[in-house]
């Protein structure tokens, strides 16, 4: 009960008080989706454009995830944390509610873009669409966890934005956005799979382009995301406990 109240509080806060975090990426993502869907299909054909578009849509969670992770780090390492610590709920639940609500905040943008792309001709049926949203959420928790691991270790809050943009570029470039994963040598593929987005992109491509539900990929995605999520959670919790 208390956890639900806190989760909804964080979610509402993310979507209303912090609307500027989602508004700017949302606008650019919508514009990008419209132009890329049209332009890529005209330029490289339907299949290649679908491969690129699905990769591009997936990385739309990065901008919001980075902002959310930075905000959570700031919130739990400054005096703002005193408010949460005064609530009749365990620290572990506070962190959990914060990360899970942040992950959910990242979903509307790629979901809306996916909807626009499908309206513009990207063939996605309803069940695939729903599976992709679930996969997105799992990937978002992993991405948030990944950023939190490093942002929690930063002592100087001023440096957080630099670290965050560096991490965002790592997540973007070490993922198969514009090409299939198997074009890389196996050791590189393994490293790339530590990025939750890589597995999410692979999963959605299999689903949309080949119509295959890759169970193994979603299991790997869940495992990698859980790893980053738990590590990020543990480090943020430690930071929170040290503050105040």
């Amino acid at each position: 009960m208390r956890f639900n109240v806190l989760f909804l509080y964080f979610l509402k806060k993310n979507l209303t008080n912090r609307w500027e975090i989602t508004f700017s990426p949302l606008t650019s993502a919508i514009l990008g989706t419209i132009f890329l869907t049209y332009g890529l299909r005209a330029f490289v054909g339907e299949t290649s454009s679908a491969i690129m578009l699905l990769g591009w849509l997936s990385i739309q969670i990065i901008a919001v995830s980075v902002s959310m992770a930075v905000l959570a780090t700031i919130e739990f390492s400054t005096t703002s944390v005193l408010f949460y610590k005064s609530l009749p709920i365990r620290e572990s639940e506070i962190i959990l509610a914060s990360i899970l609500s942040a992950a959910l905040t990242t979903i509307p943008i790629p979901t809306l873009c996916l909807l626009i792309a499908s309206l513009m001709g990207l063939k996605v049926d309803v069940s695939s669409f729903l599976l992709m949203v679930i996969s997105l959420y799992i990937a978002a928790t992993g991405v948030l966890g990944f950023i939190l691991v490093f942002s929690s270790l930063v002592k100087n809050i001023v440096r957080l934005s630099i670290i965050a943009s560096f991490l965002a570029s790592i997540l973007t470039y070490i993922s198969p956005i514009y090409y299939p994963l198997n074009v890389f040598p196996l050791p590189v593929q393994v490293i790339m799979c530590l990025n939750p987005l890589t597995l999410h992109i692979k999963f959605t491509r299999q689903l949309v382009i080949f119509g295959e539900l890759d169970y193994l990929c979603i299991i790997y995605l869940s495992s990698v995301s859980s790893f980053w999520f738990l590590l990020g959670y543990a480090l943020l919790k430690r930071k929170m406990e040290k503050t105040g």
Binding site: R2, V5, Y9, N17, L82, F83, L87, P88
Partner: protein, 361 residues
Amino acid sequence: MTGERQILIGHGLTKHYGNKKALDGVDIVICRGETLGIFGPNGSGKSTLARILSGITSPDSGAIRIFGQKNKVLLRKNVLLIYQSTLFDHNDRVWDALVFWAKIHGVRDYKYRIEEALRRLELHDKKRSRISQLSTGQQKKVELAKLFIRDDASIVILDEPFANLDVASVSIVKERMRELVNEEKSLVIISHCLDDIMEFADRILLLSNGRKIREYTRDELQGEIRKSSTAWLLELTLRGLSIKEVKSLEEIEDVEKVDVSIDRLVSRILERLGVSGGSVKVIQLSASEADEFLEKIKANNVSALSLSREEIQLDAKIYLLSLNPLSTILKRIFEKGGEIKYINIRPKETLIFEKLLGRGE
């Protein structure tokens, strides 16, 4: 303090912030239905203790038991902390912040209670405002609204409850505090203002530099305070006035007494007599002793010694019953050709605190 009445026991509470020891082995007991006052100057560890008692901050060492259990969530459920400035997110709207806070504390009729709290605190027209848009006093009222919304807390800790509040709001908050006392709640009032504490507290705990100096009952502390009617202490370093002239300030109405220290004067005399001023430990003399000392110098025919009026520097402590004589004192000093090298005025709290500290230690 019988065991069954004790609902919270803190033992050996110690907290460091970096190298600074904010709290140093404090023991504290809070009993059912009693009001405990925590008194101390700024930086004495009062707010750190409040945060530890309410489960917000964990002590580095020591432990807190509530109802015999060492459980942080149970502590947070049973202790309501009214912080000195609001803890709510300043971007939240007043209504949303209070609704969330009430819901997470499981307050059933929260809408009615919040409406009622805002009405009593005259904040009703601000409920849709963001907390950041409110004045400091109004933000404090948002924090104080908690006091009216929850009634399930066994202990209510109020950290500087009347700071930044107007007189009308102070009266409303005091009324609510009296209601809580009647409901057999335990209250902890933290303040550096002794009057605020004395109005409610049954027991008063004195903190200094993070250490518990002593505990008083209200009667004991009242006894200590009665011994001194001083309201303000005026500290001056004067040049160009004689001891007699400074002592004559006692004639002014509402001046309780004037103590003159001639340490600087003695140093100067010793210096003139050829004794190294820096190596001599200057003796403390009262005003009459000082006059005697000067007489002795004269009697010993220290004819080589002559001090101009400008060379005479005296330290004076003037105990005032009110601030009314301040302008007369300054006028009198300047009229007599005196010069003020240093001036400092302190309220009675610091005097009482110094006095209590002296006895406690």
